[in-house]
Symmetry: C2
Subunit: 167 residues, 2 copies
């Protein structure tokens, strides 16, 4: 019998995404046609509890003065046939539902749709690509919003500072 | 100048929902026409970073053996005119976007829509009501899923064990 406080094994269904597990810290750069470019510090945590999904949380702080910038939180899922699914809640009032593929340690997902609350700005599409090489994670995020086409919005490079696997 | 490690004040826009902030633990009961009733232990955390939203995370464990059951994570927002917005990601592959109202310390929200990934089960509506009296939180959650109408799915009562406000 496994004691509930033991560190569980990765669920086989999510094992292909196990290389994402850990606490990651690093730096990123943001840009968009409607705003000034900006730089940020970022922390990403990916954890699991032995069930067939990974819990995902992210926060960024301004590189200028440390004030909180963005945050987002959700779950990675691995679907049959090698498909990858992502569900993310944004404090901006957006719910991001994305699907895609895994190739080696490169995950690419694009939104099926972005829902938003009444008071949220228009966001119509988000595409993410994450690449892990050893303990380095590099990502790019493209976004279509406020009348703009799907163009580069964020890119970041983070270092795995902990491989802790518990949520 | 506020040091980024100081505990920030609640943003005025989210202050009406400030009574939700804290770490809450307690018990709940689940039921649905398609499953056997079940009991669970629950932890809810609601925190903020001084921006106009509250970060929300929830986990439950089986009352039988402590195994992890559900989890969900997202954000509460307060919109102009007393409206309340909720964005929640579920590890089941669902994105819940809900809106409603605040009356005293009772929050009632209902989904505008539920998006789901390709591999997720059908969920068409979720309605939540949360009531806070002092350090007790009581909630009820109704759900329409897998062909069933909107009926009671969960109810729980939790105690605020920490008023810690940092995310």
């Amino acid at each position: 019998m496994t004691h509930p406080l033991d560190v569980p094994a990765l669920h086989p269904a999510i094992a292909p995404l196990g290389f994402l597990v850990g606490t990651w810290v690093g730096e990123g750069e943001g840009e968009y046609p409607t705003i000034e470019p900006f730089a940020y510090t970022e922390q990403i945590t990916v954890s699991h509890v032995g069930k067939p999904f990974l819990a995902y949380a992210q926060r960024t702080w301004s590189a200028d003065d440390g004030r909180p910038l963005h945050a987002e939180t959700g779950y990675w899922r691995a679907a049959p046939g090698g498909a990858v699914e992502l569900v993310v809640a944004h404090p901006t009032g957006h719910a991001e539902l994305a699907e895609g593929t895994l190739a080696g340690h490169v995950v690419s997902v694009r939104t099926l749709g972005v829902q938003r609350t009444t008071s949220a700005k228009e966001v119509t599409a988000i595409a993410r690509r994450l690449t892990v090489e050893g303990d380095h994670l590099h990502y790019e995020l493209d976004m279509a919003a406020v009348g703009q086409p799907l163009v580069r919005h964020l890119r970041g490079t983070l270092l795995r500072v902990s491989a802790e696997q518990r949520a």
